[in-house]
Symmetry: C2
Subunit: 636 residues, 2 copies
């Protein structure tokens, strides 16, 4: 499972607890102390550049330096020491922003120690890390110093000094993902060249070195033309749009000139932006998270919807492309693959981040394994966890600064107050001391039984509506009938659902008389949060929605209902309608409750109780009959 | 929302940052600095009893001492400073064990600072707390010192020095829950007296002061007789059972003699042990978590199943009793109410803990608001969050030490390895440096679509079975038929389910020929993880299970299938069967997929795709017909 690099030093290691201990450089070695006395001294000195956050490292593992991670699942022999807990390796992260913070939060569940390197003293991860080294991840000497203290090195920001990483790797430092990956990613042009070599579909692109080149590109790709800087771009910086040839010059200037390294992309007329988090283990195994839809505002991530509302085919395509993209890179960890969905259902790669990502925050509440836990598992060498969603839907809202300083904090405080009152919402605050407009200060994730449901909750949260229970509750069952003459029958379904506490709506929607209304009702039901439809007929509705549809044959005046029954139940192969007895809307309601019970243990319990109560009623009657006799029973 | 106690001091507060600032003792005051210079000095001195863990407290809030929490939702005026984030108050916790650790984990999401007081230097919460004061929560002076530094004081262990808490409360310290509650809880006899005064059903109990009293109790209550010590009992310590009058003496001796303070309880012949976590806000609002079943081994919590597998009526009764019990206590926070379910369906209170509890760990992964986040919301004064489950089921397994020292760690490591490979499992490790037999070292929670499913996963995890995908996957749909002559028809359901990737089983189960088998199949289906049943008939099955049942009328040889159809669809009110067209097992399979889609956005997406593909097939045929003409179409 692990590739153990050869040792960087053969010196003996001294520590107060262990005395002299040789450098054990064999593969899969459990205890690999490899620091010379000098390095050891450096570590324990109270140098001003080290803000020692905790008591000195635990006695068991004074320093794990310059060694690949130990395999925590190798059953040790008698003489060896077992891993205490999940893993003993110390994970080092370059960068201590909110991604590092959430990574530390995930690691703390499994009590895996994480150290961060970040120049900001009170960076978001500082308080949560086992150890925060204050220093720049762009400074070679500092990064080398940092790397000595951890068993595996990873990043939460890709804009690190990659030459240093490459040097460290040659010395045996375990970087995940590999420095080669960081190098490719850092330069967005190189990134595209790389992926295009690996047959990943991308918008067309070309390097531009001067204005003539830019104009030629404009002629070929057309306008608007997307101009990008190759390096150091995030959250929209490093992009400029030229709407015509006249705007080329100013766009280039806005990006700092050709000297910065620029390229252009053909405008991708996308209808949606998507993202797929892909995790890759040390053994090269790959797991993919559900495709999500990302909505940006002024180039910054604004809202994320999970799973993305699109056809299975397109989701599969997006997942495949993301998986292939990540497979072409080296090293373990999670990767965020951002994609465009074009007007003609094409998926094009936008870019890849070699780390957890804003589009994956929702996974903390919505998936079996959060992207942070997954990244930890991947780099440490633990088996990858299940990336599926454990709640049907999730929506994440970025808490961006809406103003500077105190006014910004006040606005955030008010929104947080609303979030705390929103059912299913979790508030994340990154504890950044400085409030700036558009700064990522935190995020709010709402999970729930359907995308329609969580979208509605988010909407309520963001607007000044009253957040009372009723207004936020979307109907889960839609009861529709072709005519009000069916209402005396169909009302029984609503009655039952009310008894079971299931929010429902009752509508007149006729396939024959109001076809467009029926069409739009059926097509929009799922988005609105409807989970089951009960229909006076049902066939047309069932054809237009993937939701379960229950059909209630209603006895018309002329025939005995058999006509209605047959027309509903005898649906052709491919379009099922769950048909109940003639006029038995009560059973339709009960069936709807049973169906919702698939996701709601509370309803299953209530259904069991209902069955028990029904049984008790019958038993009571049976006893009475037995006691009173049939004559008295019939003539009380 | 808050009760602001009157100030404990009127002195001016000096700090390097703020200069002199008066003690602002008005209700709902935003900034209430109330420490005298002397107290302030004590805090910042590098006293040896204070292991200052972090940089000094943030500049904004040097000390919030002896003040009730500020209401973070009061919109401040121009001069006042907004709350930065969720809440500025520092929460102090007496005790730093795993409960404190998980409390800190919850607090870190919202960036709320938590300090802990614990005598153990490397207690589980130490690394995660904002500040860990090393000291005994049983020592009056230490607790007082600690209380000065936090805005609200709470506990993670009820065995604290309650006299000190009462004194602190009188001085204006904000204790949640109130000291009066801790006093009642600490003494299990007083606890029972209190609850019995509030009409909470309990096993009968009586104090015993000498052997004669014990014998009298034995005569009245019968044997076995449960003898308990009034105070300082947890994880089974403080209980002794006398199986007969002869054993009374030795049981009393085992508990330390009558001088310790003993009482006896009538033996409660329980069939299940239950627990309900109840949260109470500062405004006295109450929310209850789902009832869970707790399984103990040697008096220590072993496994917790959520939600408890029992009728709605009993769950409601348990919840009501728990709610009433907590309502009778004072103060905010979460409370764990442990209950017995007796043979005759009675619910009796066992005991209450005024804090988060082992029975509530599962809530971290399974509920919208974990018990820890809820406790935080409650004591700080934030609105209580939604306590419902967001996954249908959860099971928690306590990681208890199975041996001392290294051998114990090795066994734990092996189990953790299996847990990391179990889908839907999350590993929690409390980072206790010392391994002891039966010690709570961590826990594992598995969440999933049904209790049957998670129980099976836990079973696989604990046994030496291979953890491959297949063996752990329980069938979600059961396809049953009365005779193998139905198989050629019913197989279509299995085919469709296989296409959609839904694990299913096919069985011969006849209501008429093998009634007991049908009975046991229907009754056990849900526990086994089946979520939908497709039956060749269906009525009997639907009567015996709360699951949705789909009926497929199979055409018998003599009639045309209408007989079968009517006998299935025309179910009496109360027992719904979702009937599909005659012989149309394909539609039954599709309906089952739609039903499972209620909890599985992936399946809904696949269903939509299926509908689209079907439509495309038809469109292709339509085009062909249009192109070729009907004659050529019929004679190709």
């Amino acid at each position: 499972m692990f590739q153990q690099s050869s040792g960087c030093c053969d010196s003996l290691f001294t520590s107060p607890e262990f005395g002299f201990r040789p450098c054990l450089a064999a593969p899969k070695t459990k205890n690999a102390f490899s620091c010379s006395m000098e390095k050891h001294k450096l570590f324990t000195s109270s140098s001003s550049s080290l803000s020692v956050k905790q008591q000195p490292q635990t006695k068991r593992n004074p320093v794990l330096a310059c060694r690949a991670s130990r395999d925590p699942h190798v059953i040790t022999g008698k003489d060896d020491v077992a891993v205490h807990g999940v893993a003993d390796v110390i994970v080092g992260v370059l960068g201590g922003g909110q991604l590092g913070r959430m990574f530390c939060q995930a690691a703390s569940r499994m009590a895996i120690k994480v150290m961060v390197l970040d120049p900001q003293e009170n960076c978001p991860a500082s308080e949560l890390a086992h150890y925060h080294m204050v220093g720049s991840f762009d400074d070679s000497a500092t990064v080398q110093e940092f790397a000595k203290r951890c068993g595996v090195l990873t990043v939460e920001i890709e804009h690190v000094d990659v030459e240093t990483l490459e040097k460290l790797e040659q010395q045996g430092v375990d970087c995940q993902p590999k420095a080669s990956t960081i190098r490719i990613i850092q330069d967005k042009y190189l990134q595209k060249v790389h992926f295009s070599k690996h047959d990943i579909p991308l918008p067309e692109f070309v390097q531009i070195d001067d204005l003539e080149g830019a104009k030629r590109a404009g002629d070929i790709f057309g306008y608007p033309l997307m101009i990008k800087s190759k390096r150091l771009a995030y959250d929209g910086r490093g992009n400029a749009v030229a709407k015509s040839e006249d705007e080329l010059s100013s766009a280039v200037t806005a990006l700092g000139g050709f000297g910065r390294g620029l390229y252009v992309e053909k405008w991708a007329p996308f209808v949606k932006e998507l993202a797929v988090i892909v995790a890759r283990g040390r053994d090269n195994s790959i797991v993919c998270y559900p495709v999500v839809e990302t909505i940006h505002k002024e180039n910054i991530c604004h809202i994320v919807k999970a799973p993305a509302n699109m056809s299975w085919k397109i989701r599969k395509l997006a997942t495949d492309i993301a998986s292939r993209a990540v497979s072409s890179l080296e090293g373990a960890g999670v990767f965020a693959v951002e994609l465009f969905l074009t007007k003609d259902d094409q998926i094009l790669l936008n870019e890849v981040a070699p780390r957890p990502h804003n589009s994956g925050h929702h996974t903390i509440e919505s998936c079996y394994t959060s992207q942070y836990e997954q990244h930890l598992r991947a780099v440490v060498g633990l088996p990858l966890g299940d990336p599926s969603m454990k709640t049907p839907a999730a929506i994440m809202y970025n808490l961006l600064g809406e103003d500077e300083g105190e006014p910004g904090f006040l606005l955030a405080q008010q929104l947080i107050g609303r979030a705390l009152r929103t059912p299913g919402a979790t508030v994340h605050w990154y504890d950044k001391p400085e409030m700036r407009k558009q700064r990522k200060m935190g995020h709010i994730t709402i999970v729930g039984p359907s995308l329609g449901n969580v979208e509605k909750l988010l909407e309520s949260m963001l607007n000044e509506e009253r957040l009372d229970g009723q207004s936020a509750v979307t109907p889960r069952v839609g009861i529709v009938m072709g005519s009000d003459s069916d209402l005396p029958v169909m009302k029984d379904a609503a009655k039952i659902l009310n008894i079971f506490g299931v929010p429902n709506e009752v509508r007149i929607v006729s396939a024959h008389r109001t076809p467009e209304l029926m069409y739009s009702y059926a097509l929009s039901a799922r988005e609105r949060g409807i989970q089951v439809i009960i229909a006076g007929a049902g066939g047309m509705v069932a054809a237009l929605t993937p939701l379960p549809v229950i059909g209630v044959p209603v006895r018309a005046s002329t025939l005995d209902g058999i006509d209605s029954l047959l027309s509903i139940v005898q649906m052709p192969r491919g379009v099922p309608v769950a048909t109940v007895a003639v006029n038995n809307a009560t059973n339709a309601g009960l069936l709807a409750v049973r169906i919702l019970g698939v996701c709601d243990a509370d309803l299953v319990s209530r259904m069991s109780q209902y069955q028990e109560d029904t049984r008790d009623e019958v038993l009571t009657k049976a006893e009475k009959l037995q006691k009173d006799g049939w004559e008295s029973y019939l003539n009380p």
